[in-house]
């Protein structure tokens, strides 16, 4: 006599679990344009790599003889699998069972997934579709009491941000604890139209007198512009593809180093157009993304967070195969000036790069902080100071390229000046404490007030001061170490990536990432 009957029972229970919330609920999920959690997992992971844990956890129904007559699985499917051949943990809400509220969950499954990522030092991908385990007032009836809330698993959620790559994908309407789980990630994505995110959904909000639709309240674009999530994609398939690419730049945990990717591009490649990439007219803008893309290995430019703090571009990329974090200015947004939201984005990005030992390449065109009343209303200086603190606490190798301006406190924040200034300037370099145009009134107030023709004097002063603006004069005093031909930038950055690679030090950093 073998244990075959028990194995048959196990297979039967697993089969019941794979039926999820039943045919009707699955059809409803599909009608909403959404994949089921099991389809999602299969499409995210390498083929046939999913090893499920806790498949048969749920609620069984039994007859008088104790025989199983029906089964509703827990509303969270999780396990291990592979992405690009590397092991990961994946956990997804099953909305067909119930929208994630705690009454249908076995909350220890979620905690198990987080702990597995933590202890096995593996990336975790959360597929979020619902409230992610938060409460429902229905529980008052079933429990006959209420409770003081606590955020279950949050010790692990927080610790994972310091130790393993965390990706949150919003794949439905997400509220409460689910929203907190979605954004407590290094990379969070929502799928246009099928995903909305809010603290509380329209019915609760309506009780405060505000009538909104789900899209109006927490549409994906709104959430990305607010910086609550990093990105909006057009389909679930795209979300999975982006996740796979994001993870390719990162180590499996901070105890490891970012793996060198394929070497697909010539490190000494020179692009002739770079010599004219920066307009000679200081008032004209240019396409920084085109510059970044050409400096990096072909097709390795991976930007995220584009809709928020847009004066700063934050991206991953490769140089001679080595993963790097790229920070760059976008002159189309406030001339690249640091707004409060750009500073918040930069802080998080530096902490992210530092956490995962990604050398930073910073392409600088920063006219300073955004100035004006709105900048003060936004508390820009506090957020900017926080970005400075992140910069001065970061220990990852760092290389700056001053492509144009570096003015004031924010311009100075292109590098930690107390470290080796691994730095280059393009001939378009233009820097100082204040741009000449803006600083004259303050510096020559008395002279201008006394002048018969203040406007003429102003022009004369400006002309005179502009004589000193040449970057060669700065280089004469070794206040900029090197001026380079922009066409040599890729070669020099690839050299940096190769020099930086052995300097990267695995381990948990003191100032690790917060969402």
């Amino acid at each position: 006599m073998t244990w075959q009957p028990e194995i048959d029972e196990l297979r039967r229970r697993e089969q019941l679990a794979r039926e999820m919330g039943g045919k009707e609920k699955i059809e409803r999920q599909r009608a909403g344009g959404k994949l089921t959690v099991r389809e999602r997992i299969d499409l995210l992971l390498d083929g046939n790599s999913f090893h499920e844990i806790g498949a048969i956890a749920g609620k069984g129904r039994y007859d008088g003889e104790g025989r199983l007559t029906g089964f509703t699985p827990a509303n969270f499917v999780m396990g291990r699998g592979r992405i690009n051949g590397r092991p990961v943990v994946v956990g997804g809400d099953d909305f067909t069972v119930r929208g994630g509220a705690m009454d249908a969950a076995i909350s220890s499954k979620q905690i198990y997934a987080e702990r597995m990522a933590n202890e096995l030092r593996l990336p975790i991908v959360r597929l979020i579709d619902g409230t992610g385990g938060g409460g429902s007032v229905k529980m008052l009836e079933t429990d006959g009491r209420t409770y003081v809330p606590y955020n279950q698993g949050w010790d692990l959620v927080t610790d994972n941000l310091a130790k393993v790559p965390v990706v949150g994908l919003g794949l439905g309407s997400v509220a409460g604890l689910g929203s907190a789980r979605l954004v407590s990630a290094h990379y969070s994505v929502m799928v246009r139209e099928i995903s909305q995110m809010f603290i509380a959904g329209p019915p609760l909000v309506a009780r405060t007198g505000e009538n909104t639709t789900k899209e109006e309240l927490g549409g994906s674009e709104l959430c990305a512009r607010a910086g609550a999530v990093d990105e909006v994609v057009e389909s679930e398939i795209e979300a999975f593809a982006r996740t796979r690419q994001f993870l390719s730049y990162l180590p499996s945990s901070v105890f490891d180093l970012p793996p060198r990717g394929p070497i697909t591009d010539e490190p000494n490649r020179r692009d002739d157009w770079l010599i004219g990439a920066i307009p000679r007219d200081r008032r004209k803008v240019y396409d920084m993304r085109k510059i970044v893309a050409t400096l990096l290995d072909t097709d390795s430019f991976f930007e995220f967070g584009r809709l928020y703090g847009s004066a700063a571009i934050t991206a991953l990329g490769r140089l001679d195969g080595w993963p790097v974090a790229v920070l760059a200015s976008d002159p189309y947004f406030y001339g690249g000036g640091w707004t409060a939201d750009a500073a918040i984005k930069i802080t998080r990005f530096i902490d992210f790069a530092n956490t995962f030992h990604l050398p930073v390449v910073n392409l600088v065109d920063v006219p300073g902080f955004l100035i004006g009343r709105q900048a003060e209303v936004d508390g820009t200086i506090r957020h900017g100071a926080r970005a400075l603190a992140a910069l001065y606490q970061a220990g990852v190798p760092w290389c700056s390229v001053l492509v144009r301006r570096a003015f004031g406190v924010a311009g100075a924040a292109h590098a930690n000046h107390t470290r080796l200034m691994y730095r280059y300037a393009w001939p378009s370099g233009d820097w100082g404490s204040l741009p000449v145009e803006g600083g004259i009134e303050a510096a020559y107030r008395a002279e201008l007030a006394a002048a018969e023709d203040a406007s003429q004097l102003r022009t004369d002063i400006e002309k005179n001061l502009n004589r000193f603006r040449s970057p060669f004069l700065t280089a004469e005093s070794f206040l900029i170490e090197e001026i380079i031909d922009p066409r040599d930038t890729r070669r020099l950055l690839c050299e940096f990536a190769n020099l930086a690679a052995p300097l990267r030090t695995p381990g948990v950093v003191a100032t690790s990432y917060r969402p």
Binding site: V285, P331, Y332, F333, Y334, G336, P367, Q374, E437
Partner: protein, 73 residues
């Protein structure tokens, strides 16, 4: 034909208006230029189309998310 409201990505001052209602534009063509942080920042047509209205005047102060022009695409 759908219309698209093009909004200010930033706050600033309207420096130049390059197009008038009825004009055709191609993708990435500047319709309005703002001035901000001493830079001329073009507000471009996101796709080819026809300008329906220009909702700012030269010299206007504009704020982020304010409608600048409407494009028929």
């Amino acid at each position: 034909m759908a219309t698209k409201s093009i909004r200010c990505p930033i706050s600033g001052t309207v420096f130049q208006i390059h197009k008038a209602p009825g004009d055709s534009v191609v993708a990435k063509e500047a319709v309005v230029t703002l001035e901000c942080m001493k830079m001329e920042i073009p507000i471009e047509a996101p796709s080819t189309g026809r300008v329906v209205s220009i909702d700012v005047r030269e010299g206007d102060s504009v704020v982020k998310d304010q409608q600048v022009f409407v494009l028929e695409i």
